[in-house]
């Protein structure tokens, strides 16, 4: 963890094998953001976007890592996994499109709103993905 004076980086390893722990990292970030005095509407955006990303990692990529870089100007989230990759990113961004397996859908996930919600709640988002290698999603929520 390297931090300059007004920047803090939080790092999370997302375990892929335990679905019941999915969402813990975003919940931890949420409580830290509140304590740091981040504006409630920003906290909400970050919490929702990161939660969606975290769940995606667990469902599709058997885990990965999330880095959250917080400064007074913006909050950046970098989600990396070594999962199967996304074949057609544009299609994956379509509301309602889902490749989640049935057992996951039975838990109430897999509505096909993961990536669309991540885009909706952030100011910038980029998805880099290579089939068979993995996916990196970078999201930014601007404060100023």
């Amino acid at each position: 963890m390297k931090d300059t004076e007004d920047k803090i980086t939080l790092f999370y390893k997302i375990p892929g094998n335990d679905f019941t722990r999915a969402g813990e990292a975003s919940s931890n970030v949420k409580s830290k953001l509140k304590m740091m005095g981040v504006r409630p509407d920003i906290v909400r955006k970050v919490a929702i976007a990161m939660y969606e990303g975290e769940i995606n990692m667990v469902i599709h990529a058997s885990g990965g890592t999330i880095e959250v870089i917080i400064s007074p100007e913006e909050i950046e989230m970098i989600l990396k996994d070594q999962g199967p990759g996304i074949e057609d990113i544009e299609l994956a961004m379509t509301a309602g499109y889902s490749t989640a397996p049935d057992n996951i859908r039975n838990l109430g996930f897999g509505a096909g709103m993961g990536l669309p919600n991540m885009k909706k709640y952030t100011d910038e988002m980029s998805v880099e993905s290579q089939v068979g290698i993995g996916t990196t999603v970078t999201m930014k929520v601007k404060i100023i």
Binding site: M1, D3, E5, D6, K7, I8, L10, G23, S26, S27, K30, K32, K34, M35, M36, G37, V38, P40, D41, V43, R44, A47, I48, Y51, I70, S71, P72, I143
Partner: protein, 430 residues
């Protein structure tokens, strides 16, 4: 009274400085310092969990003594529905109400009657405010305070309608003034409370400028006074009850939500469960719901720390008592007055009491230190330092109210180092 009032407090002589309460507190408001528990008032939400857990009964709730009745010329009791759940084989609430009059009250006004008005108002509010769904119940003051300090994004979902007890108080006062011609200050409106949070809600109300309640008695103190008087009341029962199934139902978890006549609600009770629901709600996991009822105590108001009966037994008793009652007996009379009065008058503002800094820059710097400190600590959350977790100790240090060597592991290392240095010095001398 400082800026923050809480009813829960410590009886120092009884406190042994164990760590039961610091571990149980849902907002991490308690520390053990110099061998005694200390409550950080701005963090306390008056849930009463520490009162429940303290093996030495050192945590107390402040409330008024029954002598307070002598201060007033005309006294009205406000009994909540949870009170009825305390008694065995009670078939008629009028026995309890008549006994209250024998106890020294001139009149009684059932909080469950006012609850039926709140239910009616809530049904209308929920129907007219789709954009604010799910609407969150505000009858439990602990829940409202929790949201105010920890869930700023949910403030907008709060039901801006007075809690039944407050509506009961203003209605009862008006009724008493009309009946007696006495000025307001000579009338005592007295609530019989199942919990300390209601005491706080009277002294430091949220959503309304001031409370019409003059004094709060503890249910557990009124209970033994009522028992003999109830026996005496059996043969001359006065018809004082004004509530039906809906009103009585408010006494236990699910009753308030059930009164909305929709299935599209969630009801959670117990403070840890409430926090979990609020966390999920904040992440917008249930935007399809119309209403969310939350009670800090397990079982709802019958589970308050000032009650006598096991909350689940009390719930059964309430269910029996409701069985042959009409659905509701108190209704809005159609005149707008009632409705306007029942609404909150004040905005609820976010109070970020847990913030680590005065602004974000300071917050980030302090959080960086918290994270660094946490890496140094053993992560055992042993409580020996007086804080509930290593992270809480780190936050205390950053806030300037604790130091690193409060951690016994850090202290041990420090002493080791010190003794090594000393022995080196000794060797040099030789």
């Amino acid at each position: 009274m400082g800026e923050f009032f809480t009813s829960v407090h410590l009886e120092e002589d009884l406190c042994k400085g164990c760590i039961n309460c610091i571990k149980r507190c849902p907002t991490q408001a308690i520390r053990v310092r110099n061998g005694k528990a200390v409550i950080t008032k701005e963090f306390c939400i008056d849930c009463g969990e520490c009162i429940r857990i303290c093996p030495h009964h050192a945590k107390k709730a402040s409330y008024d003594s029954p002598d307070v009745l002598n201060k007033f010329e005309y006294r009205v009791a406000l009994p909540p529905p949870s009170l009825y759940g305390q008694f065995n084989n009670l078939e008629d609430v009028n026995i309890v109400l008549t006994a209250l009059k024998k106890m020294g009250f001139d009149d009684v006004y059932e909080v469950s009657g006012a609850a039926e008005l709140v239910s009616e108002m809530t049904r209308a509010y929920v129907a007219n405010h789709r954009g604010k769904w799910p609407i969150i119940s505000t009858a439990c003051p602990t829940v409202v305070r929790l949201i105010q300090v920890r869930f700023p994004n949910l403030i907008d979902h709060l039901l801006p309608i007075c809690a039944p007890v407050d509506l009961a108080a203003s209605t009862a006062r008006k009724k008493a003034m009309d009946k007696t011609g006495l000025p307001s200050e000579k009338i005592g409106v007295v609530f019989i409370s199942p919990c300390p949070a209601k005491v706080t809600a009277v002294k430091a109300p949220i959503g309304i400028g001031h409370s019409e309640i003059d004094a709060v008695l503890a249910m557990k103190e009124v209970y033994p006074m009522l028992l003999p008087l109830m026996k005496k009341s059996v043969n001359d029962i006065e018809e004082l009850g004004i509530s039906g199934r809906i009103g009585i139902g408010w006494g236990s978890a699910g009753g308030e939500a059930g009164s909305l006549l929709t299935d599209n609600y969630l009801a959670a009770d117990g403070i840890e469960n409430v926090i979990r629901v609020l966390e999920d709600l904040e992440d917008q996991k249930f935007d399809q719901l119309e209403f969310i009822e939350l009670n800090a105590c397990s079982g709802g108001c019958v589970g308050g720390v000032l009650t006598v009966e096991n909350p689940y037994v009390a719930k059964v008793k309430l269910k029996r008592l409701r069985k042959y009652l009409p659905v509701a007996r108190t209704h809005l009379d159609g005149n707008q007055d009632n409705k306007v009065e029942g609404y909150w008058t004040d905005d609820v503002k976010y109070e970020p009491v847990f913030n680590l800094g005065k602004d974000m820059r300071e917050g980030i710097a302090n959080m960086t230190r918290v994270v660094e400190l946490c890496e140094k600590f053993p992560g055992l959350d042993c409580g020996s330092c007086g804080a509930p977790t290593c992270k809480a100790l780190a936050e205390d240090i950053v806030r300037g109210v604790a130091q690193e060597q409060d951690c016994i592991y850090i202290l041990r290392d420090y002493i080791h180092r010190l003794s090594n240095e000393l022995s080196k010095l000794d060797r040099k001398k030789e």
